[in-house]
Symmetry: C2
Subunit: 897 residues, 2 copies
């Protein structure tokens, strides 16, 4: 700052380059890579980049520029002219410019671009003369007017299209290519008149004015809704800002010795090591994108694969192809990743306009990472760090056949990935009935509750019209690996009429129960009828990456699972144990809900014990199954957690059914339901509070665990001791009472069975108070497991079931960076976790600590847990591979630091 | 510990005393004071005290004693004998002992006592001979058997009463006094046979065995249910344990030169400086307590006041009276407090058996403290520290005339003090109707909700059959100063039949709407019909104490108030401002609920603004009133906090009424009610989340505050700037948005009105995350106010509305020391408060911080807030005097440390 002028403009080009690829924060990805290519002496048209600091200045200073900027730009324009010959605003030999945005991360198509800048009547005439191609010059001019008017002057493109359409109609011309230079000059006059009419000011003819207009438009486009949405979806902070890259235009449309194209150094769909790309002769870049003409393949192999009749560049321009091919290897060697290249051939000379790391499919990403590592270009660690863990999830679920036709009904939230089709069922019972007939079914509910769990299990997919990404439906569906679309607000469900009504732009569709719909849980889309799906395959590359990840990571990965299928899936996907078995899910089966309700409705402890005795053998069997499936691995079982009213019927018809089955009066049941009603069940009579009020419930569960473990131990030489987890502990006293209960039941069973029972008793840390009191609680608890769903609810004072109504607004307006139920709130919830870890281990060095909230499958949260020094994370079965990779990345990143 | 023998037994008596009054922790109150009196050379029969450490040893070691104890007791028994003459187990001249409990705090009648220990056939004969009074000796013996059997051998007293009854029947004797020594000897035989029959072992004749039995019984009585309940009610920790005091018996029943009595050095009911007490000639202490004979007054003044015909001790035993009277002054001078003395006269000689600080009424406590300070016996600080702040509350409310007859219906929880009678109203509307007719009314509900607030205001008292001390009804009633009995579970309310049914031991009473009941909010009792009440008076002593407290304290005291009567009361009771004005309470009036609902039911912002415009003038008026009442003092106004659904009707009939009034369809209203329904409203769309979703609501409120302030400022030279408080802040971003909103409205109004508006914008700290993020939030917030109700709910994961179902069990079983909604959980919630204070003031030195939760009126919590360095506490108006005193005590205690 001391007297030194701030540098806002960085040059690149054959003569003078003062940036490099490491400066993406300042120059954006595009500007930094152009500088890097220039420095490599690759043929890049010269230009300059205005830094992201100017963007910050722009927004912080009422959309104005730093005073130093103008002189720096003027100087840079002169430097370009020196290198290329043509000069800005030179009527004989005009320099034309492109003006593009460039953020730190690629945001393709989200922000604005202006090409051919510098055109006016005089420079167009000069260009016509110079190129001996007036049609090219005036075509470029009219393109510029339309683009500039659209981007800078905010005049919609369709006005110009309308003019062109009427013009062609008048002269009976079919295609744009039928227009001559004279035609275009007439069109240009109409275009300029249209601009003046729409904004009461003539189109700016001064190239300098044009340039400043375009720069401002690019900065402004950082805040356009499209870009804001893209950033939100891709977790790009608004604070990054965009750079602006201004570059000399080269033309692929000055004749048949000209071309423009896009190439990938490897196939971005499959990852195979093949040069891959398309080009068009005598065209500008936008023509490739627009898809008006069929592009030609770069390689003969590509041509053959596409069965194309058009010549490949390898054939038609062999020398240029060879130069491009050499560049391909040079860029891959230099950037150590697959590149996506834009190039233009102007009158036989190759220019590179952009290189960037290529976007790729998940499958290709795996293959490229593995191949690069095996080719020795990158290390295994680098390969691991290049895979986006979150993107893995899609490849673990069935997905819609991308080529199949479909009819969109509505879009909701992508709550649980995977695709499924089935008959609409409006109740859990109906879903179960259809499933028992072997029919595929989609459970459609306004929202789900724990009572619906059996129907969710039976269904192939779940659709709700209310609730967010962390609603009951979403959480349970992810846990079960069922595709789920949640909160599809444009759908109305009428249970009485047994219909759903989807209202959209194209009218209203009414579907009845039994009609087929298809859900795409990855996109949140709902389709009418059946859309074919593709099954996932686990490629060799996937297995290789997972193997490397397992070798690299320190964190153990467990799964949240309580059913045989879920536990089996979890183990197949690499889970190293069960971190959370939610025993309450075991009580919703038709067979079990009856004794469960009998227990809740009983008048006294004796009645409760009678009902619990019926549940004991079933729970015992459940636990024996889990121990068997996870043989050799730890299994953590949480005792009953939800408030008892969740198991009772709520609607009069259900109450009547229970009354009939139980022999109790409807009035008695209704009274019990009312007595158990809670204003805030999340903060109610649940967790260990139940174990304290009704110790007989926990006694039954503990007995079932130990007896199930004894059954398993008969078939297993060295069974892993069970881990019994107490929910909702807030005080040491609670933990003491619960530990004592487990110890007591254990000694009873040891006395009865003469079997020695090893076990540990730990606690969820899911209340702020438990985190603060962790030092005391660790005097009794054998392990901790963070229940970050509830810890987030209490720390934030935010109900997961209710937050959907405003959390979207919060994230959308930048009041929260991310939904704290999806990715751990590291500053609030995370601080409490850090306190609990430090205090727990101060009391009990080496205390085993894990996490079993939904966050266990979120990569950023996994990294945070790694940094906190947790022993394991536990997540939904289908997220286990994600967690394995994320844990490896966390370890690798922490080694780097 | 190094070789030195532990000392478990402390002596007292004329010759050797090794304890003193400062050793209450070790010797209990009784033992310590006996030692102190001995040291003062007052006539105390010799004895010894077994320390509370033995009690701890006893419970920690399977009810056994430290090995050193026996020899120490034997030695102490010898020392007694040396001083008095008679010896333990001496057949000629037997020493008899009393064995009594003594905890650190007095627990009158809660634990066991054995008198006349040392009796058997031989010692009884010896005593008969020695005293020349065989009747006295055998009467004492039979009393001992019955007492020992009851206390030590657990044989109920009624078995002995039955024997005595049959004996008298057989010999045709009417009264105990009709029995001769021979009769008693026969009865003794029957008693001894009964003991043997009931426990298959003879009654222990060895005095040493008797003594060990009695010591064990006293220790065991520490854990009897009576004592446990008393400790719970009086916050006495179980860990204190009891001491056992063994003392030589003296006898007030050896003839007419004997007497026994109880005296207070001042009148314990009024506090007046009068010697006050009762005695009985030829009696044992228990006869005074048992009330079989009418006791005589000690002083002539007392005799005259009672219009008694029996001679006063001052007349009948003038020398002894003079000695007692001198002792009175000596004890008061020495102990510097009013004493409660037990004495016995044995054959013309005065003995003091106990002295302790006298229990006294609240009124007396105030008078005594003031008098003692003004007499120069204690300092003003000591006087302040002697008043129990919690006990003040009762004297601020009307109370039942203690002499009026009454018919108890049921007992609930004493949820809000004061007494009220009125006609039963089963709905808020009916309560309002009755009130509008000038009738007194009691609102009777199963539970209350915010919709009932207008009815609660209209009612003279509130009765609910569900909910705890911190239910909605209880909290709101305390805030309003209405008497309230909550959770009266033995009453059933039938809204349809408009009846309440109270079931008790004496049968079932059914009362109809309109019948009169009386509530005693201080005891939780509900009476049939009208019980006359007495109005509170603020005595001069009360005012003196409050003045001293105000001079001593550092903490400022504000009130939670939003209505004109509440604010007026608060100011009268010494509030130094309003710490919490809950604006939502202003919307429940019949006049206001309609536009409020119109606002909530509106389709769009414009509709909401139209409705808000109707509310603006009313709110403006409310705020102008508050500023006027609190002129010169700060007023903190919290913007709308509860979720909107709390304002909507829930029941079909109400919905129909709103539909008719609003012109909306019932279906539309039902749909909106359903859309706004929340699973956990406590964690829902409320507080600043509303301000972010619907800024127009907060804009209206902020405008009303500023416009109301401008109205007030016209009549006030130097108005205090308003403090605007944002509820439920969790993040800095929320605070920024809200601050910006207030600033914007302020500048609009300054521009419109040309009035300069001073103001500050602060936040509630009521979420754990806010406490953790306090350092950031303080960058924007002008002040903090701890909302400890919600902070307790979230830190503990405990819903105030639902916790009643299990919190009682928790406190009862010692899992929680106190209800955390009544007294701050200092270890959990308190730690978060400490974090917030430290971080907030690190960012913003001198940041003003207060508390406005219910805890602001709890003395222990006030002391905690003082230690945390808060600037003020804010509480219900009627708790302001309590908080003033508690704050002074906190300051005085912290000076001491």
């Amino acid at each position: 700052m001391t007297g030194k002028k701030p540098k806002y403009v960085y040059h690149f080009g054959p003569n003078a380059t003062d940036g490099h690829a490491g400066m993406k924060d300042l120059l954006g990805g595009k500007g930094a890579n152009l500088a890097e290519m220039s420095a490599l002496k690759l043929p890049v048209p010269p230009g300059f980049t205005i830094t992201t600091e100017v963007c910050h200045y722009y927004y912080a200073n009422h959309r104005s520029y730093p005073p130093e900027l103008k002189s720096q730009i003027d100087e840079a324009l002169k430097a370009i002219a020196t290198q290329v010959g043509p000069k800005f605003n030179d009527e004989q030999n005009p320099l034309l410019l492109s003006v593009r945005s460039g953020a730190r991360a690629s945001m393709p198509g989200m922000m604005d671009t202006v090409l051919n800048l510098g055109m006016n009547d005089k420079t167009a005439a000069g260009l016509a003369k110079l190129s001996h191609d007036p049609r090219f010059a005036y075509d470029s001019y009219r393109r510029f007017i339309q683009m500039y008017a659209n981007v800078v002057l905010d005049i919609s493109g369709h006005h110009f299209e309308e003019i062109l359409f009427q013009f062609k109609d008048k002269y009976n011309l079919d295609n744009d290519t039928d227009l001559t230079a004279d035609h275009w000059q007439e069109v240009i006059k109409l275009y300029l008149a249209e601009v003046k009419r729409r904004q009461a000011q003539p189109f700016p003819t001064d190239p300098a004015e044009q340039l400043w207009g375009a720069i401002g438009a690019v900065f402004q486009s950082w805040m356009n809704p499209r870009a804001m949405t893209y950033r939100k979806l891709n977790n790009i902070p608004e604070s990054w800002g965009t750079a602006v890259t201004v570059q000399a235009m080269v033309f692929g449309n000055m004749g048949d010795d000209c071309a423009t194209g896009v190439a990938f150094t490897r196939n971005p769909s499959t990852g195979e090591n093949q040069f891959y790309g398309e080009y068009l002769v005598n065209a500008q870049g936008e023509d490739v994108v627009a898809g008006i003409r069929t592009p030609q393949q770069i390689t003969v192999a590509g041509k053959n694969a596409q069965a194309s009749t058009l010549p490949a560049m390898e054939e038609s321009m062999p020398a240029l192809f060879a130069e491009l091919s050499a560049t391909r290897h040079r860029l891959e060697d230099h950037f150590r990743d697959v590149q996506d290249i834009e190039f233009t051939v102007q009158q036989g000379k190759l220019y590179l306009l952009q290189t960037r790391n290529a976007k790729r499919t998940n499958q290709a990403a795996l293959k490229i990472a593995v191949d690069f590592a095996q080719e020795g270009r990158i290390s295994q660690s680098e390969a691991l760090l290049r895979i986006d863990p979150a993107a893995l999830e899609q490849s673990l679920h069935p997905r819609l056949d991308p080529d199949a036709p479909r009819q969109l009904l509505a879009t909701g939230l992508p709550a649980s990935p995977g695709a499924a089709s089935g008959k609409i069922a409006f109740s859990a019972e109906e879903a179960e009935r259809l499933a028992s007939l072997g029919e595929s079914t989609i459970l459609v509910r306004i929202e789900t509750s724990p009572e619906d769990i059996h129907g969710m299990h039976a269904a192939n997919g779940i659709l709700t019209t209310r609730g967010g990404m962390t609603s009951h439906a979403a959480v349970v569906a992810r846990g079960m690996g069922r595709p789920c679309v949640a909160g599809a607000g444009s759908i109305r469900v009428d249970y009485a009429a047994q219909t759903l009504t989807a209202s959209g732009k194209d009218g209203t569709a009414i579907l009845k129960a039994g009609e087929v719909i298809t859900l795409d849980g990855a996109s949140g889309k709902i389709f009418r009828g059946q859309v074919p799906t593709l099954q996932p395959e686990f490629s060799e590359d996937f297995k290789t990456i997972m193997g490397w990840a397992d070798a690299a990571r320190r964190l153990r990965i467990r799964a949240n699972a309580e059913t045989v299928p879920d536990a089996t899936t979890a183990r197949q996907l690499g889970a190293e144990g069960i971190g959370l078995c939610r025993t309450e899910h075991m009580f919703f089966d038709a067979e079990r809900i009856t004794p469960m309700r009998e227990m809740i409705l009983a008048d006294d402890e004796e009645g409760r014990r009678r009902a619990l005795a019926k549940l004991l053998p079933m729970q015992r069997g459940d636990f024996a199954d889990l121990f068997r499936i996870m043989s050799g691995l730890p299994v953590t079982i949480r005792l009953l957690d939800p408030p008892l009213h969740e198991f009772l019927p709520q609607k009069p018809a259900e109450i009547a059914a229970v009354a009939a089955a139980s022999g109790l009066s409807e009035a008695a049941i209704t009274a019990r339901v009312a007595a158990l009603h809670e204003a805030n069940p999340m903060l109610g009579h649940r967790g260990c509070r139940l174990g304290i009020s009704y110790p007989e419930i926990y006694e039954m569960q503990v007995r079932a665990i130990f007896e199930g473990w004894i059954l398993h131990s008969r078939d297993c030489a060295n069974p892993t001791p069970p881990e019994i987890m107490i929910p909702l502990i807030a005080t040491l006293a609670e933990m003491e009472v619960m530990k004592h209960l487990v110890d007591r039941v254990a000694s009873e069973i040891m006395a009865e069975s003469k079997v020695e029972l090893p076990y540990s008793v730990g606690t969820m840390i899911e209340l702020p108070r438990a985190a603060l009191q962790a030092g005391n609680i660790a005097r009794v608890a054998g392990f901790f497991s963070f229940g970050t769903n509830d810890l987030t609810q209490t720390t934030f004072g935010l109900s997961r079931d209710d937050a959907a109504s405003f959390l979207g607004t919060y994230v959308g307006r930048g009041l929260l960076e991310r939904d704290p139920f999806v990715s751990l709130d590291q500053h609030g919830v995370g601080e409490l976790m850090g306190i609990a870890v430090a205090r727990g281990r101060a009391t009990s060095p080496g205390l085993k600590i894990g996490i079993c909230g939904e966050h266990g499958g979120d990569p950023a949260s996994v990294e945070f847990c790694h940094r906190l020094g947790l022993d394991y994370v536990s997540c939904s079965p289908y997220r286990v591979p994600i967690a394995r990779l994320a844990a490896a990345q966390a370890e690798l990143r922490s080694e780097k630091v």
